[in-house]
Amino acid sequence: MTATAVAQHIDLFRERFVKITQEVGRRIVGNEEIVSSTVMSMLAGGHVLLEGIPGVGKTSLIHTLADVLHLKFSRIQFTPDLMPADIVGTNIVQEHHEKGGTFFEFQPGPIFANVVLADEINRATPKTQSALLEAMQDQSVSVGTTTYKLDQPFMVLATQNPLEMEGTYPLPEAQLDRFFFKLKVKYPTEDAMHHIVDRTTTSGDISVSRVVDGAQILEMRHVARSVPIAKPVQSYAIRLTLGTHPDSPYATPLVRKYVRYGASPRAAQSIVLAGKIQALTRGHAFVSAEDIKAVALPALRHRVLLNFEGEAEQVNADTIVEELLAATRADG
């Protein structure tokens, strides 16, 4: 690969990224940062947890993204009586018409898709929530003694309501850690509300076109992992991750006071990989500390587990991470 080829890869990556976000933006008003971060997670091969109150467009965003991407899409509505087999699939008895007799045949569940929408994931029990663990981490599903590989690209986009709401179960820490980003969908602004009302109360339906397919997304993933990162910048990402641990020398006062467990090494992986994609979206062939800083909050906020004092005082994990970002020097 020559320098020209590298430049072409960067330009193509940037062009496709902009296309996806622009196409999603045609239907989703506002929340450009949420759209961008969601696409970024998809290009990194990660999963996204979208949190927000009902009606702010979480499900619409994922629907639109699936429409823009030329990928197989499935939706799982999580309910309290949902079982793991309803997600991953199960073996059912089939009759052999020619030879006679019966046999077990695997009936794949909705998890077998490229883009899986796990709607209101925290309304199911932890037992069912955990059915996604293997799929999210290993991109495979085991039923009985057989393991089935999932098609690539595979991505879980989960939505959840805030934990204070009725009928919700908190996600297990292991499940939370498997999400690349946790994005908080905010309530739209007044201008955005006008746009939403205008688009949804008129007869015209806004249609979106498919701009990339699965192969192109896999190619973009490969390009993203090719971006070099200097050790001092990588060290900054690692120090940010270590700083979430209360016994770390990089920990801030808030971390020492309110955090029980800090982020796992997956957080550092997420930060660096997202930093690379962030650099590519800016047309850079290198990762800067600013890129790392821009993606640290969504990568760390759901990996910081508060202690009893933090829970009692209703401390926001975002506040802790923001203080960490302000206190950690890029040249340390």
């Binding site: 690969m1 070099p228 200097a230 050790k231 001092p232």
Partner: protein, 398 residues
């Protein structure tokens, strides 16, 4: 420059200034050499330059990859692009070269001034000598041998080596009477001398080199000597006040005390000054004179009016023991009191409780509790009807 000026003022050798100048030159050369050496660039330096040039971290990243080296195409592309962007930066505008001309000019002027001070400008001692010869007092009609004696005495006074024996002082005073200008000069010199002696006494140093040779110096303790000085000052002030105060009820020819308008007032004032001066000298040096002064006689203006030129001296010498005792007592009391602005220059910022001056006290102290036996009651008597039962209970049956 400052060292050269100080050396010149202190009459030091010019070699010191030149040596310090040479030492500074060597030090500056070493510092310039140390700062100008080629140093390896660090990530912190790269980050700072990157931030200054607003290269968004590209220079920093490229710096690290340029050190580690790699054959990756992405890294090569990154390095080439970083080099192109760095070449577009106007480094001269970003880091303008500081003009060192004013500093170099100032340094050169200072060096020239130091050399000039050390080599060219004449010594201060010769200036002093020239000034002292110019100030020689010449009296018209004075015999040459007397003029020479006068010059020698004035020179000794200026040098501070004049001994305070009476004969010398008498000669000096007699000569001084010849000319009012000379009188004024001698008075100023004497006052300066007195001031220096008093300062030396305060510092605990000998007043005069000759004092060390006098065995009688150890005869008087320091506190007694200070008390005598204070007494002498008060006597002189008292005499002066009485002589100059028109409202002095004791001012009369019989008592010898004069008011401000009397014809002897000026003479008495001069005499009291001389007495004060002489008394200080004697109090500090001569134990026998102090003993004689303590010998008896009344104090105050009754004695002063009957005395001639040495009246104040005799007056001080005849101060009675009672006055000395009072002075000593007063001195002791004053020494135990800290007067802000007089002997205490700083205000005592300690809290009152720390200074043991707290005005707080307990006003409602409860009286000592006493045990009122009248309220004590004896334990109830054992009912006689139960006594046998108790005895049976506690006495083991055989």
């Amino acid at each position: 420059m400052l060292v050269a000026i100080a050396v010149r003022l202190l009459r030091g050798s010019s070699t010191i200034s030149l040596a310090v100048l040479g030492l500074l030159a060597v030090t500056v050369s070493a510092v310039v050499f140390w700062l100008g050496r080629r140093r390896p660039s660090t990530d912190a330096i790269a980050l700072r330059v990157d931030t200054d040039a607003q290269l968004a971290g590209e220079l920093r990243s490229a710096h690290w990859f340029s050190i580690t080296g790699s054959g990756d195409e992405w890294i090569s592309y990154h390095l080439n692009r970083a080099a192109d962007r760095a070449a577009q930066v106007s480094w001269r505008e970003l880091y303008p070269r500081e003009s060192g001309t004013p500093a170099w000019l100032l340094s050169g002027v200072c060096v020239v001034a130091v050399v000039a001070l050390a080599v060219i400008v004449p010594q201060r001692q010769s200036l002093v000598a020239a000034g002292s010869t110019a100030e020689t007092t010449t009296l018209p009609g004075l015999p040459p041998e007397l003029q020479a004696k006068l010059d020698a005495m004035l020179a000794k006074m200026k040098a501070g080596t004049l001994q305070g024996d009476e004969a010398t002082l008498a000669d000096l005073k007699n000569i001084a009477k010849l000319d009012p200008k000379l009188q004024k000069t001698i008075d100023e010199l004497m006052k300066n001398k007195l001031g220096q002696d008093a300062q030396k006494m305060k510092d605990g140093k000998p007043v005069d080199p000759a004092d060390k040779e006098r065995p009688s110096n150890g005869g008087l303790p320091e506190d007694v000597r200070w008390a005598l000085e204070d007494l002498a000052k008060r006597l002189a002030n008292s005499n002066q006040d009485r002589q100059t105060n028109d409202k002095n009820p004791a001012a009369s020819d019989q008592t010898g005390e004069k008011g401000m308008g009397s014809d002897q007032a000026s003479t008495q004032q001069a005499n009291s000054t001389e007495a004060q001066m002489q008394l200080v000298r004697e109090a500090s040096s001569d134990a026998s004179a102090s003993q004689m002064m303590m010998g008896g006689g009344g104090m105050g203006g009754q004695q002063s009016g009957q005395q001639g030129n040495n009246g104040a001296q005799k007056n001080a010498a005849e101060a009675n023991v009672l006055a000395i005792a009072q002075a000593l007592k007063k001195e002791t009391v004053e020494a135990n009191e800290d007067m802000l602005g007089k002997n205490v220059q700083k205000e005592d910022i300690r809290r009152k409780t720390e200074a043991s001056k707290s005005g707080m006290g307990f006003t409602k102290v409860a009286p000592t509790a006493t045990f009122d036996k009248s309220h004590a009651t004896a334990p109830p008597p054992v009912p006689e009807s139960r006594r046998p039962l108790l005895q049976n209970y506690f006495i083991r049956k055989q």
